[in-house]
Every structure is written in structure tokens, then in C-alpha cells.
């Protein structure tokens, strides 16, 4: 597998360097550790630290910004950052009002963030934690805390960033963010594997005419393998699995994210988006906002996931808060200019 890298051992560091250089002045990179921090932090607010393994870009790195994370820390490819790195991000993000951690629910992340939280506590920084567990495929509802965090991270981070930005205290930020997590679900389907830089073998093998429903963002096996199907049939399955799990009912308001795993073309994402919106409409569900793109990837894996965030009036308020990050920003001109009455909203 050819990759545009220099040395597999420094891919993460060089990526961080490229990121801060490209956004010159906006973010700073800490010495020694793979942590980026906003150059200017609003005082008086709870800090938001997100992170996890590398290799899922733009997640987590590029969800830093106004109304998004204050600091991002990443470990090696597919490996949670060490506690010392998380602690450095925590210290950088703390403005005396504590720090919220938002990350995907994996053994490695849990262990490292928990240890970092203990270390922060010793240094007098309060922390709170929301683990994202949106992946419907990864465990049945009765074992929901066994579920992994995948593309739904985006929604939970967006709401957490808005809650911090709104000036809520740590407990309230946690409560609102947890609510976002409880209302977020994702189902994905993988078509072909990604590869880890420096490792020739892909993470898994998938026959030329087969797909895997529910495969995880690190190639973890999903709920079933089956023959390739038309996009509409696959999208229908994903939407229905989510709808049954939430459960979604007619009249509900949702945001929809059609997420590509890496090498899936925008053409395919938009074809899937088309069907997802059709299917939700058939279910009587109202779509408040929708986006398609690579939000949470697994290197050059091919496939797509669909995430829904079910909104109530409180979540909608935080979802609507203007925000800017390199990976996603609210509607810019459209909110200020010609289409202001339609700002980010499909109601």
C-alpha cells in the first residue's frame, strides 16, 4: 500500500505540524505531545477536550474551533493517547472552570482518559466525561455501554462545544452532552478495508462481492456479512436499524449525517443521502439538517455510515449555535445574507 508519508513512525506528528502550519496562528501545537490548542480561549468557560486514536481524520483533530473543542489530543494510529498527553491537553484547555472529555467508548480510550482524569484531579482540575456510544451494531440495547463511538462523535462534540460556548457550568455541560449522546445513533456498512501506514496488510479482508454491515471504524467485525446490494437497499437497512433502536417515531426531528469512511466518493455519499432523506420522509421523520462528507474515517476504507441526532428544543438550541472548525462550520454567509430564513434548518 503506497502512502504519501515519510516514515510510519512520525505520521501523526507530521500531520499535526501540517495542520497548525496551514492554520497559522489559529492553533498551537504543544512541544513533544500531539496536542493542538486554540490560540485564544474565551475566559470563564468550561474547556472541551476531545481525542482518541489517529487515523480517523478529520475526527478528532479538525473538530477544534469556536463552538467546538478547545484542545485535541491524539495517540498513534488507532491507539488512544497516553494519559500524560491527555493531561497536557486538559491543562491547556482549563480556564479554572473544569474540563469536559468527549471521546469514543473504547477500552483503550476509557483507560487512558480515566487515568488522565485522576492525574488532573491531583493537579486541581475538575473533569467530567461523556463517552460516545452511537454504534448500534456494536452491542444490543441492553448492553448499550458496550457500544463503540463512531461518526456520531460529530454530533456529541458539536453539542458539547455549543454548551461550553454558552457558558454552562461543568455539570450542565455534561448533562446536555450526555443528552446528545443518548439521542445519537449510527449504523455503517463497509465495502473494503483501510491500511495502517507502515503495515502492508489491510486490517481485514472482504471478498470482492461482499460487504459488512456494522463494521467498526477500526475494522472491527459488524453484525453480518452479505452480498453487495444496491445503495438504496443498504441505506434502507441502516436507517431502519437506527429507527428501531432509538426508537424513532413519526413527527420526530433529526439531523442526518451521511459519513464516508475514506475512499467512498462524494457521488456515492450524495446518492445515499438522497435515499436516506426519502426513507426518513416515508417514516414521517422531519429532517432539520443534513450533511454528507468524510467526518470519521478509517484511513482509505470504503463504505458509509448514517448517523441521526434526534433533537428536542434544548438540543436544537445548541445545535443552532454558530460554530466554526476546519472540518465543519455552520452556514456562514447563508446565515448572514440572502438565505438567512433558512439558516441551517430544513424544518
Amino acid at each position: 500500500m503506497k502512502k504519501l508519508i515519510n516514515d510510519p513512525r512520525n505520521v501523526v506528528r507530521q500531520m499535526f505540524k501540517g495542520f497548525v502550519a496551514m492554520h497559522k496562528g489559529r492553533f498551537r501545537l504543544l512541544d513533544e505531545v500531539n496536542v493542538v490548542v486554540k490560540s485564544k480561549l474565551d475566559p470563564g468557560k468550561v474547556g472541551l477536550v476531545i481525542g482518541g486514536g489517529s487515523g480517523h481524520e478529520p475526527l478528532f483533530l479538525e473538530f477544534i474551533g469556536d463552538g467546538f473543542a478547545d484542545a485535541v489530543c491524539q495517540g498513534n494510529i488507532f491507539a488512544a493517547p497516553p494519559p500524560d498527553v491527555i493531561l497536557a491537553a486538559t491543562k491547556a484547555a482549563d480556564r479554572g472552570h473544569g474540563v469536559l472529555y468527549v471521546y469514543g467508548n473504547y477500552a483503550g480510550d476509557n483507560l487512558n482518559f480515566d487515568m488522565a482524569a485522576e492525574m488532573a484531579e491531583m493537579d486541581g482540575i475538575s473533569t467530567a466525561t461523556v463517552r460516545v456510544m452511537d454504534d448500534v451494531a456494536s452491542a444490543p440495547p441492553e448492553r448499550i455501554t458496550d457500544r463503540r463511538g463512531i461518526a456520531g462523535d460529530f454530533y456529541v462534540i458539536k453539542i458539547a462545544g455549543a454548551a461550553c460556548d454558552a457558558g454552562l457550568d461543568l455539570d450542565e455541560v455534561r448533562r446536555v452532552t450526555e443528552k446528545a449522546g443518548n439521542n445519537t445513533r449510527t449504523m455503517g456498512v463497509a465495502l473494503s478495508p483501510g491500511t495502517i501506514p507502515g503495515i502492508a496488510k489491510p486490517a481485514f479482508e472482504l471478498p470482492d462481492d461482499e460487504i459488512e454491515i456494522g463494521m467498526g471504524l477500526h475494522g472491527e467485525p459488524g453484525v453480518r456479512r452479505g452480498p453487495m446490494e444496491p445503495a438504496d437497499a443498504l441505506v434502507d437497512s441502516l436507517v431502519e436499524l437506527i429507527a428501531a433502536d432509538l426508537p424513532l417515531k413519526s413527527g420526530d426531528d433529526v439531523c442526518v449525517l451521511v459519513n464516508g469512511f475514506g475512499s467512498t466518493t462524494r457521488m456515492e455519499l450524495l446518492i445515499c443521502m438522497r435515499r436516506a432523506l426519502e426513507r426518513l420522509d416515508q417514516l414521517g421523520v422531519k429532517v432539520y439538517d443534513a450533511q454528507a462528507g468524510n467526518y470519521a474515517t478509517c484511513q482509505e476504507m470504503a463504505g458509509v455510515s448514517i448517523s441521526l441526532l434526534r433533537l428536542d428544543s434544548e438540543l436544537r438550541k445548541y445545535y443552532d449555535r454558530p460554530a466554526w472548525s476546519p472540518a465543519f462550520s455552520t452556514r456562514g454567509l447563508f446565515q448572514r445574507g440572502t438565505l438567512v430564513e433558512d439558516s441551517g434548518c430544513r424544518c
Binding site: 473504547y106 477500552a107 458496550d146 495502517i196 503495515i199
Partner: protein, 213 residues
């Protein structure tokens, strides 16, 4: 010889690091079967850093050797294994009074504490398809060797055999923890990657003791 000096512990850990670095591909392969395929990368990188730290100076305190190893792994590795394998050496050596040498009993005690702390943080039991499947029998064996006053060499040989057996047993389990969790029955037949690492570490210790104790 019934004790291990700080210098010997340092040599042993450097040897363990060498073996893990060489086993990188094997450990990735094990993780590829039922995890995300990166276990060897993390372990090799972490133990390389350990080796650098250990080589950088002399040690007079045995616990300092293990503490330095464990703390370095925790600080640099990340991933589940950074904490789990870091604690393997860190949990039982942290806050211990300085010792120029230790016997099987202290050695056994160190790993017993590690098991306790790994289980406290990771919430895994034997049969959940984690490193605990191999560590638990290894700790039982070490305790027994200590009670039977077996020499270090023999204690480490038995510890390895117990770990290896535990690793093999992990093949039969359905994962309840870690990235293989979602696999269900499909994980059966493959050993847990962390258990493979532990068995490699235990073998390296035993091999080193065979030649040097």
C-alpha cells in the same frame, strides 16, 4: 541463585524489550484477527522507549527498574495496552521502598498487585478474552512458586507455562471487553492479542533467567 538484583532486572527488561520489538508483526497479526491490528506497533514502540530509558542509566533499586519501565509505557504508548502493560510493571513497583535485590516472593507480589489494578481499572475477569486470561494463571503460579520457595529460574519457567496455557485458553472465549467485543462467536479460535503479548513477555523473562540466573 534466589534473588534478582537491580542490574539483573534491568538486563532482563532490556531483553524483554528486544523480544517484544522482534515480535511486532506477530502481535499485530494476533490483533488483526480480532482487533484493530495495531497491538504490535504499540508494544514495540513502548518497549523500545523503555529500553532507551533503562539503557540511559544504572539502577540500584529493583523496583525503580520496573517502575521506570511501566511509567514509560504509560506515558508514551497510548491504546489499551499502554495502560494495561504499563500497569503490569508499574502497579506493583510504585511507592515501594528501595530494594537492591528482590526474591521470588516480592516478584510474585508485584504481579499480584498488577493483576488487581488491571482488573480494577479494566473490569475484566478470566474468560473475557483479555490479558487477564494469561495474567491470572501466571500470578497464581508465581504465588505457588513463592510459597513452595522455588528458585527464580523455576518460578519464571512455570510462570511462562501458566501464561502460555492461559493465552491458549483465551482462544475458547467470547470477548466481553476490548475491540473484539462485537465479534461474538466469531472471535472463538483466536487467542487474545494482549494474552499473546503477556506470554511472549513471560517467555522472554524465563529464557533470560535460564541463561543468566
Amino acid at each position: 541463585m534466589d534473588s534478582m538484583s537491580a542490574a539483573q532486572a534491568r538486563e532482563m527488561m532490556i531483553y524483554v524489550a528486544d523480544v517484544i520489538v522482534e515480535s511486532k508483526e506477530l502481535l499485530c497479526e494476533a490483533d488483526r484477527n480480532i482487533g484493530d491490528g495495531d497491538h504490535g506497533i504499540g508494544m514495540a514502540a513502548g518497549l523500545e522507549r523503555c529500553r532507551d530509558e533503562l539503557r540511559a542509566r544504572e539502577f540500584t533499586d529493583v523496583y525503580d527498574v520496573f517502575f521506570t519501565s511501566g511509567r514509560t509505557m504509560i506515558r508514551t504508548m497510548g491504546g489499551a495496552s499502554g495502560i494495561i502493560f504499563g500497569m503490569l510493571f508499574h502497579a506493583g513497583s510504585r511507592n515501594m521502598p528501595s530494594q537492591s535485590e528482590i526474591g521470588v516472593s516480592e516478584f510474585s507480589c508485584m504481579f499480584e498487585k498488577a493483576l488487581t489494578e488491571i482488573q480494577a481499572k479494566g473490569h475484566a475477569e478470566v474468560g473475557d478474552k483479555t490479558v487477564v486470561d494469561a495474567l491470572h494463571p501466571m500470578v497464581v503460579s508465581l504465588r505457588h512458586s513463592s510459597e513452595s520457595a522455588l528458585p527464580f529460574k523455576e518460578a519464571l519457567r512455570r510462570a511462562y507455562l501458566a501464561a502460555e496455557e492461559g493465552k491458549e485458553a483465551s482462544r475458547h472465549y467470547v470477548a466481553k471487553v476490548g475491540k473484539a467485543k462485537a465479534l461474538g462467536e466469531r472471535a472463538v479460535g483466536f487467542p487474545d492479542a494482549g494474552a499473546v503479548s503477556l506470554s511472549v513477555i513471560a517467555k522472554a523473562m524465563s529464557d533470560w533467567a535460564e541463561k543468566n540466573l
